[in-house]
């Protein structure tokens, strides 16, 4: 049994005669997607929580989808992901009056996945930075209270560990804000889900972050970046991942030339701390500038199998 397993985080889009399509367009597209990721050594998938409905409709229920995955070499859905980038009158997650809506919605999504063996419920713990400001200790306390409650519900009712995923444009993004947040949350219920590229862009070292919070880390998105945000691009609207002033493309596959994430050091840290479990491979907007998701995935998994696994397992590089 492998101590680490690789799972793929949902983002996928390929060209078709009718323009770009993703895996949720049809069973045929899902079949092609799953076989491609299975072919290169991935054995789990992460999903956006809001896609559960489409998949359930496509297969006549989520258990049938799990069987479909297993028949193609994918063990299961590992993570559900949820975020609410913008605050709105109907949903402002740092508004204590909306706490019940957030909990109810996530309870609903987690309930849809009952019986599938999903391990983690992953959330962005704040809106985008501009919509979270002022990011004060009091506001972080409100968010901590929310996620303590959600984390308890998620674990005790649904068997899923809550993990908080900090986009570089999230309201909780800097080392100081992250430290405040984890100091105010319950280690039993609120975990850290490390996205390597997002932290580097925000000026946070993901290797040091993992070593600091290893006991609270419940997963990763491994992807790379070639840029650090030096000019407050994280404030760009409506989407800092698309509208930044300095780069049209933030995210790259592991092993990309010029990548700033020190994956070998991170893998050594995982080994040192006896991390066991899933590692997510993510490619967000991989097709910007002529790239494509399948090739990014193949290259990332080549890097994972030939560079990172030998570090973790103590074998000579292939």
């Amino acid at each position: 049994m492998d101590k680490i397993k690789w799972q793929y985080a949902d983002h996928w889009r390929t060209d078709s005669p009718k323009g770009p399509v993703n895996q949720f367009a049809s069973r045929a597209e899902m079949d092609r997607f799953i076989k491609q990721i299975a072919a290169v050594g991935l054995s789990g998938v992460g999903m956006f929580a809001w896609n559960l409905g489409a998949v359930s409709a496509m297969f006549g229920g989520l258990p049938a989808y799990k069987t479909f995955l297993e028949e193609r070499g994918i063990e299961k859905i590992v993570d559900l992901f949820w975020c609410q980038p913008q605050a709105s009158r109907g949903m402002t997650i740092h508004d204590p009056e909306h706490k019940g809506r957030v909990i109810g919605m996530l309870d609903h999504f987690a309930g849809l996945a009952a019986g599938l063996g999903v391990e983690n419920l992953i959330v962005m713990p704040a809106h985008c930075y501009s919509d979270t400001e002022p990011v004060t200790v009091d506001r972080i306390q409100v968010l901590a209270d929310l996620w303590n409650t959600v984390g308890r519900m998620s674990l005790e009712k649904h068997g899923m560990k809550l993990g908080c995923h900090h986009e570089f444009w999230c309201g909780i993004r800097s080392q100081g804000e992250i430290d405040q947040f984890y100091a105010l949350t319950d280690p039993a219920y609120v975990n850290l889900y490390i996205d390597t590229a997002q932290h580097v862009i925000a000026g946070v070292d993901p290797v040091a972050l993992f070593r600091q919070y290893a006991h609270r880390v419940n997963g990763f998105h491994f992807k790379d970046t070639r840029h650090v945000d030096m000019v407050e691009d994280y404030r760009s609207q409506p989407d800092p991942e698309l509208c930044a002033s300095t780069t049209p493309r933030w995210f790259w596959e592991m092993g990309t030339p010029g990548g700033l994430v020190d994956f070998p050091a991170l893998m050594q840290a995982l080994k040192d701390h006896n991390y066991e479990g899933w590692i997510g491979v993510e490619h967000d907007k991989a097709d910007i500038g002529g790239g494509n998701y399948p090739e990014s995935t193949a290259l990332a998994m080549w890097y994972a199998r030939n560079v990172l696994e030998p570090i973790y397992y103590g074998k000579a590089a292939a």
Binding site: R32, Q36, A39, V40, P257, P294, E295, T297, A298, L299
Partner: protein, 327 residues
């Protein structure tokens, strides 16, 4: 010796300047390696945009043939199983703009061009040179014994030249060739020396021509030394191989039916080749050459490689018991 798997790089080389940079080569090698393939087939080529196609360009681009092999090995590719050569394509370095195996005056030049592969293939871990056996169909040339003897004279000479280096010559017949039937193919193959010249079967091209690739495998088992395994979506029911420049107007342009794509991945739901039956027949016949998976006209080469890798690992290996990792 048992059957061995390889993958054709031509799906990446889908435009004259699309597969030039070393980064593109590396990405293709890594994509194939992680998809389970550890050997590749390379098209012979000419000029600055075909840096893998000839020994002199490899040396200019990589410094040496050994340097290319090192780069391949670092990516997980152990061998170049085969090169593919079409005499009709330009060879700029030699001032050739369309040689023909049916023209005895060209035979010496074809031999001269192909001599380099006797060194190149073993240096890259390979052993098979695949050649387009005959030109396109035309209304002035017939497939008869006299005409085939001219072609056989050339290929026998090439086979004899390559043999001391341990390289075998494989005659390939695509869907545009002047040989249109098993009978036509037999005529040429039977005139070639079985010790040095064998047959290469392209399963998709056979199907496009209206031939049965499983029957071909069984019919030519004794001469079959190389397979290009791929699927096809349509048959050439309008005989559009007779068009002028059929590689452009039929295969690329789609012909009168505007067919978007002739070739597809092995498991494609619209495929007209029963790939599993082809593989079963190869195993039953004790085939011991290269099976080169191909996906010409792939809109996303990585997708084709990954899907084909999944199908070989999960479907075909169960038939043969031969795993991708055994090259």
């Amino acid at each position: 010796m048992t059957l061995r798997w390889s993958y054709a790089l031509n799906q990446w080389n889908n435009g004259h300047d699309r597969f030039v940079l070393r980064e593109a080569h590396t990405n293709a090698f890594k994509t194939l390696a992680v998809s389970g393939f550890n050997a590749v087939e390379i098209p012979c080529g000419s000029g600055r945009w075909e840096p893998l196609g000839r020994k002199d360009w490899i040396e200019k681009f990589y410094g040496s043939v050994d340097a290319l092999r090192t780069e391949m090995t670092n990516c997980g590719i152990n061998a170049v199983s085969s090169y593919y050569f079409n005499p009709a394509e330009p060879i700029f370095e030699e001032g050739a703009y369309g040689l023909s195996v049916l023209n005895p005056a060209d035979h010496g030049r074809i031999l001269g061009t192909l001599r380099q592969y006797a060194d190149l293939l073993p240096a890259l871990g390979g052993d098979t040179l695949v050649v387009r056996a005959l030109p396109n169909w035309n209304d002035k040339t017939t497939v008869d014994v006299a005409t085939m003897q001219v072609a056989a004279d050339c290929w026998n000479a090439v086979g004899a030249m390559l043999s001391p280096a341990g390289v075998r010559l494989a005659l390939n017949f695509d869907c545009l060739t002047m040989a249109r039937s098993e009978h036509d193919i037999t005529l040429l193959v039977d005139l070639c020396d079985p010790a040095t010249v064998g047959l290469s079967l392209d399963t998709a091209d056979a199907a496009i021509m209206g031939l049965d690739p499983v029957a071909m495998i069984n019919r030519f088992a004794a001469r079959l030394i190389h397979v290009q395994l791929k699927n096809a979506l349509e048959r050439d029911t309008l005989d559009e191989y007779k068009l002028a420049f059929p590689d452009k107007f039929m295969l690329a342009g789609g012909g009168a039916r505007r067919i978007a794509r002739w070739y597809c991945e092995l498991e494609h739901e619209g495929g007209i080749v029963d790939v599993s039956s082809c593989h079963r027949a190869l195993v039953a016949q004790g085939f011991s050459g290269w099976i080169v998976v191909e996906s010409d006209q792939s809109p996303v080469p990585a997708t084709s490689a990954m899907l084909n890798g999944w199908f070989v690992k999960n479907e075909l290996e169960a038939i043969s018991g031969i795993t991708l990792a055994e090259v």
